[in-house]
Amino acid sequence: MKRIVQALLVLLLVSLMLFVMLRIVPGNPVAVLMGEHANQATIDRLTAELGLDQPIHVQFFRYLSGAVRGDFGTSYSLGKPVSELMGTAFVNTLLLSLAAALFAWITGGLCGLLAAIRKNSIPDRLFMGFSLLGISMPVFMVAMILQYVFAYWLHWVPISGTADWRSFILPAVALGWNSAGSIARLVRSALLDTLEEDYIDTARAKGLGKSGVLFRHALRNTMLPTVTMMALQLSALLSGAVITETVFSINGIGRLAVQAITARDIPLLQGTVLFSTAIVIFGNLVADFLYTVLDPRTRKEA
């Protein structure tokens, strides 16, 4: 309960900070919305119509009262309710993030596992090289390379969009490779550490086979930090797919946020930032919960 109250306070603080920041920076969003050809009288008239000439506290409470009812206003740049736009975008972001997370978890987990089992072998070096590449290459570069090779050159998948499930393959790999690299390295090092523990020797001494030792004892203890990382990564993927969504033209939350910033679309920006904040907070709550489920010691301490 305490955690939930804390989460709500963080959300309130973020919305207040964002609201104030967006209004103290120079620039009238209506002037951006109206475009080059609008005259000053039109800009002034619409500024008043949108209530942007009212005192900031009046605007904030109006926004807050709408937000608690799920009404984030209407996007200036897309002309539709923010909640409707975010609803559609969230589905795409969720699909992309889940696909990226699955790629990261499966690939990263398997690479880490095999690298640990064959420590210092050629497969170990190959898998760790793969993970290092994922961690060190910027997402936009990975995206562009994948796009060029698999979509433009080989014609295997579409270059962009969300027309069918194949469209999500490249974005998922581009977005998930970095996480896969982190997971692979974490699984490898955690597994190697665990295999050095005394209780592993005890298990071996009791005559348990290598696979039994690995899956029943070593891997289970390795899961603790890995699962926590996976949960945190999923929330990061959900809130941080900005570049991937832009390069692959996926109508997701990240792309909406970019559009909102460019167009100084205050309602849309507030909606997307608040949403991303909520996702990160939720991810942290889930990670905490999983930690207590997987590690009985933390339950006792709690």
């Binding site: 620039g27 009238n28 005259n39 800009i43 897309l78 559609t88 433009y152 295997w156 194949r166 696979s211």
Partner: protein, 534 residues
């Protein structure tokens, strides 16, 4: 055991990889449907309603018609009849009698009547959002906008196909204004709250219907079989929203786009790739617009006409555009751009003369490099315009003027410019309709206008003449007046330094036989101008 586990893992990876590859290889692109045209835009449209936008004209231009259209013929924009077949202007230039084309119906089957035209004019005023300027010229326009009247008193419907419009003051550019997408004719009977948002509500007389619009993804237009004009080659248009220019580029090369707007591409890619690999597929049209260096006369240095003229003489515009635009731009010397009515070909611009510029600065008392001001740049400026900024800064530096380029976020840029306090900046204006009043009034039509455009042009007499010019009924007199004003404002006062007009380039995919881009004041185009291969 270790090896067994490793083998299992490797097998699992191989199976997954094989499965994925199989799926991918199985996915081959099918043949494109006949009559389909695919193109892309960088940003999605805000609205499909012309009453609420001055920029998103693709749907208004293709789903609706206007009384007249502006088309390019031999490089010049010409006014052609559309829904109006005949018109007559009274001798005092105040009243226009129009005859509508017979037999035109909206896409829902409703016949087009003069009442629909009246409703379309009044709707702009009732909504009081964008594009109110033109209907405000009609007698009673202000009353409708102020909710003091429900109908335009200056609009009189005689019968279904005849009506007359009376203006508050003569405006020789009125017919040209009626060709602006802003003056699209809508169906009064089917008008609903969903207009502008719901594709089904977009009922027009134009060649296409909107069948689908997915925000930030794509929209689709299909041929309207009730269209009164010739059947177009393109039966279906899909416009994808692809914000990344490089992705658009790859899609075009991959055959996923049939038409690409090269304005959105990096100029280096246009030169190195499109101008070489696709040279025979590039089509271009004048933008009928002007790029210029705006100078604020309220600045302590720029208020001196000698300093402004020296700036004009310090800029080697010809070399600049040759280097940056590689033949896709022409030098401009005034206010009215090439291709627009009343453009003056014989106008002489500022000759490149750095020594002369230094002499002028010396005469003005600034021989020791005291002059410094900010050259403000919009952060959304294209790569080419950013290079123009750098070139200008360097060229001015050579004559002892320190012009520091500073980039602003788009909203902050508009705010500073609107406050009238921006020192100097590069601006571009594309004509909304083919009449010099469009550009003249915007920048020099009132003291307020010159303030909000950060020009602060101080000559009240000239401002009054600019405001009065549209009322000159005689075309030759009006042209002479605009050209005289242009000579005074630019030639004598150097209120801004004209730079160039660049071309709008498009590249055609292998499925497109031809495309004749027409009025290019807008970035949007008439889909009927595209002809696909059989």
């Amino acid at each position: 055991m270790n090896k067994r586990i490793q083998k299992k893992g490797i097998c699992l990876i191989l199976v997954l990889a094989a499965l994925l590859t199989g799926i991918l290889l199985a996915a081959t692109a099918g043949a494109e449907e006949a009559g389909l045209l695919r193109t892309a835009v960088t940003y999605d449209i805000t609205t499909m309603d012309v009453a609420k936008t001055t920029e998103d004209y693709m749907i208004p231009m293709n789903v609706f018609d206007r009384l007249f259209e502006t088309r390019m013929e031999d490089g010049t924009a010409k006014l052609v009849p559309s829904l109006c077949t005949e018109y007559k202007v009274s001798e005092d230039g105040l009243t226009y009698d129009f005859t509508l084309r017979e037999g035109v119906v909206f896409s829902n089957g409703n016949p087009l009547t003069a009442s629909d035209v009246q409703y379309s004019f009044e709707r702009l005023l009732v909504l009081a959002n964008q594009n109110t300027d033109i209907p405000l010229e009609v007698v009673g326009g202000q009353d409708v906008m102020d909710k003091k009247a429900e109908t335009l008193s200056g609009f009189s419907v005689t019968d279904d196909t005849h009506f007359s419009v009376t203006l508050k003051a003569p405006n020789a550019g009125f017919l040209a204004e009626l060709s602006s997408p802003a003056m699209s004719i809508v169906d009064q009977e089917s008008m609903s709250d969903g207009f502008g948002v719901d594709p089904a509500a977009m009922i027009g007389t134009g060649p296409y219907l909107v069948t689908e619009r997915i925000t930030n993804d794509h929209y689709t237009l299909v041929y309207n079989d009730k269209y009164w004009g010739a059947e177009p080659s393109v039966k279906k248009l899909v416009v994808r929203v692809i914000s990344d220019a490089n992705t658009q580029n790859l899609m075009f090369q991959n055959g996923e786009l049939d038409l690409i707007d090269l304005d959105k591409q990096d100029s280096a890619i246009v030169q190195s790739q499109y101008k070489t690999v696709y040279a025979d597929r590039i089509v271009s049209v004048r933008k009928v617009g002007l790029t210029f260096l705006a100078l604020n006369e309220s600045n302590e240095y720029l208020k001196d006409v000698r300093v402004r003229k020296a700036i004009g003489m310090a800029l080697d515009v010809d070399t600049m555009i040759a280097a940056l635009y590689n033949g896709d731009a022409t030098r401009e010397n005034g206010i009215i751009p090439t291709g627009a009515w009343a453009h003056n070909d014989s106008l002489e611009g500022f000759a490149y003369d750095p020594e002369g510029a230094k002499s002028l600065l010396k005469e003005a008392g600034y021989e020791d490099g005291q002059i410094s001001f900010e050259l403000s740049m919009d952060s959304t400026a294209t790569g080419s315009i950013q290079l123009v900024y750098q070139s200008i800064s360097q060229l001015l530096d050579k004559v002892g003027i320190k012009a520091t380029v500073k980039s602003y976020d788009h909203a902050a840029y508009l705010d500073l410019r609107g406050s009238g306090k921006m020192d100097a900046f590069i601006a571009r204006w594309l004509l909304d309709y083919n009449d010099p009043a469009n550009i003249m009034l915007t920048f020099f039509g009132s003291a307020d206008n010159t303030l909000h455009r950060s020009l602060n042009y101080p000559d009240a007499e000239i401002i009054a003449r600019v405001a009065a010019a549209p009322a000159i009924v005689d075309d030759s007199q009006r042209m002479a007046e605009y050209q005289a004003l242009e000579k005074k404002i630019i030639g004598e006062d150097a209120a801004w330094i004209p730079l160039f007009e660049d071309m709008h380039l498009y590249c055609l995919g292998s499925r497109v036989a031809s495309f004749t881009p027409q009025w290019a004041g807008f970035s949007d185009f008439y889909v009927t101008d595209v002809v696909l291969k059989d």
